[in-house]
């Protein structure tokens, strides 16, 4: 038995924890640089303000409708997520944190000791609300995929009130029949489209397909999904996350970049972020994608993109920054107002199988190790390559940022004693 616990509109709910006057009101949270809406709560959606649209298109409408728009406060979300996961983890011997707002629990060893799983689910929901003031829904099922299905029911279907435990074939049947095929975990829009062409519209129809046929027309992953929908355990959470094949660090900047120095600093910063990510998963990159362009909303789209092949695979920040700045300075065009800048590390391979090169001396990973350890212990950018610059105008724009109530002493919430 597995449970999936996840928060309802997590970013929006997190913003309401220390702002009781915002509870029950429509809220949207914007992406880096206040570009797009990345989260909208139920009340905002009811007013027709949905996710993933560019913010400037609906800014006036939000103001008119009284929708609260906020910059992403990742410091707050990270800290509240930690508390939430700790509370959830108390309720089962095994926990797998799947994302910032979702966590699986396994009752494999313990569920005979829990008299009623549905009551248990209700306890989880109540405890998380009481202790963190975050609303969550809990779904329980025989497989990870069915736990996801149950969670969907808990959240979206009437009569469940935030908790759902699929414990009969009839109930499973009813829930699957009411779900779109793309609501199933692992069925994206592309596969969903193909399934619809085959006449498979809801999750129930998907679950009734022949597994062998599914493997032939799609992949073994989709076959596993079909089997899991029928209660057969195929997915484990150990295999749920594979190493990434490509690593990107890219962002739009707060203020357009028009001088070379700032562009090189921004490129260096992204090279360093991507390199640190690669080291974390134990990979090195054989080639490097360097790009910078103006906004797609500008009159003349303009920019550059360069694919650089390294002599030997590397994840060394200094080396990658060297390539990025050398190429960036060659391709810089003073007439372009750069808006989006990024670095991609491609052709990743595991560090432990690296093939040496006769003409390149082996790299000493100790410096990067020290750098990563210091940054982990004392906070991001405690130590960095000077080419990144001390503080740039290309930093993120977060005009609508709320205080960091839980991580910054000057921002702790004020409690009235009047």
């Amino acid at each position: 038995m597995y449970a999936l616990v996840d928060a309802n509109s997590f970013y929006c709910s997190a913003e309401q924890v220390f702002r009781p006057e915002w509870r029950g009101r429509p809220i949207v949270v914007l992406s880096n640089n206040d570009g797009c809406i990345v989260a909208a709560n139920r009340q905002a959606k009811a007013l027709g303000i949905g996710k993933f649209g560019p913010f400037f298109e609906v800014k006036d409408l939000c103001q008119k409708l009284g929708v609260i728009a906020l910059s992403s406060n990742y410091e707050l979300y990270g800290s509240l997520s930690n508390s939430m996961m700790e509370v959830i983890g108390r309720f089962a011997p095994e926990q797998h944190i799947y994302s910032i707002d979702e966590s699986f629990l396994s009752f494999k060893q313990s569920y005979p000791a829990i008299p009623c799983l549905l009551t248990h689910a209700a306890h989880i929901r109540r405890a998380v609300w009481k202790e963190t003031r975050l609303p969550v829904c809990v779904g329980i099922g025989e497989t990870l995929t069915l736990a996801k299905v149950a969670n969907h029911a808990a959240k979206k279907l009437n009569g469940y009130n935030g908790v759902c435990y699929i414990n009969s074939a009839q109930q499973r049947h009813n829930i699957l029949a009411s779900m779109q095929v793309t609501d199933v975990w692992g069925i994206g829009s592309r596969i969903g489209k193909k399934l619809r062409q085959m006449g498979i519209h809801n999750a129930l129809a998907l679950s009734k397909l022949q597994p062998g046929l599914v493997r032939k027309s799609f992949s073994i992953e989709i076959e596993r999904t079909v089997r899991e929908l029928n209660g057969e355990q195929c997915k484990g959470w150990d295999s749920a996350r594979a190493d990434k094949q490509q690593i990107f660090s890219t962002r739009s900047v707060g203020e357009r970049i028009t001088d070379k120095e700032s562009l090189l600093q921004a490129l260096s910063k992204h090279a360093a972020i991507a390199a640190a990510k690669a080291r974390k998963q134990g990979s090195a990159a054989s080639s490097l994608l360097i790009f910078a362009k103006n906004s797609p909303y500008d009159e003349q789209p303009n920019g550059f993109k360069y694919h650089y092949r390294c002599a030997s695979p590397t994840n060394d920040s200094c080396e990658l920054i060297g390539h990025a700045t050398r190429i960036g300075s060659q391709l810089f065009n003073p007439n372009t107002r750069y808006y989006k800048i990024g670095i991609g590390l491609l052709d990743l391979s595991p560090v432990q199988h690296l093939q040496g090169d006769l003409f390149t001396p082996p790299k000493d990973p100790a410096l990067m190790q020290v750098c990563d350890n210091l940054n982990q212990r004392y906070g991001t950018d405690s130590m960095f390559v000077a080419a990144q610059g001390i503080s740039g105008k290309w930093h993120m724009r977060r005009d609508l940022l709320t205080p960091q109530y839980t991580t910054c002493w000057q921002d702790i919430p004020q409690v009235s004693c009047r």
Partner: protein, 135 residues
């Protein structure tokens, strides 16, 4: 500027410290002041209505959401959309102040009210804290 303290060592070997085997973890204020870390938040009092029980303007409040509320606890509540610190009279549904110049408040049906946590500790800074002052 972020200064990182790192202990320097001269690499001189001599007698091992006789205290080495008695070493324990240093005292941690977190351990003393916070009982349920994931259910606790820290706030700052603003105003004089709780002075008689020793909570003064700008004192630090440690608020625990895990413990259950008992009669006459010091609590933080959401009262009509703002955080207030009061003594709660659960029997008569009253929010009491600890200062004679403030009246008690009756929690009515139409009020938007919820208990946000129990104030389990409050901390006074007898000299200004540079961190809180923002230096």
């Amino acid at each position: 500027m972020n200064v990182i303290p790192i202990l320097a060592s001269a690499g001189i070997t001599g007698f091992e410290s006789p205290a080495a085997e008695y070493r324990q973890l240093p005292l941690s204020l977190d351990e003393l002041l916070i009982e349920h870390p994931s259910a606790t938040f820290i706030g700052q009092a603003s105003g004089d209505s709780m002075e008689k029980i020793g909570i003064f303007d700008k004192d630090i409040l440690i608020v625990d959401r895990h413990v259950s509320v008992e009669n006459h606890d010091v609590i933080v509540a959401n009262y009509n959309g703002s955080f207030v610190c009061k003594l709660i009279d659960t029997k008569r549904r009253l929010l009491l102040s600890a200062n004679d110049s403030h009246n008690s408040v009756l929690i009515q049906e139409h009020d938007n009210f919820s208990v946000e946590g129990v104030v389990i500790r409050s901390i006074r800074c007898h000299r200004q804290s540079p961190i809180l002052a923002g230096d």
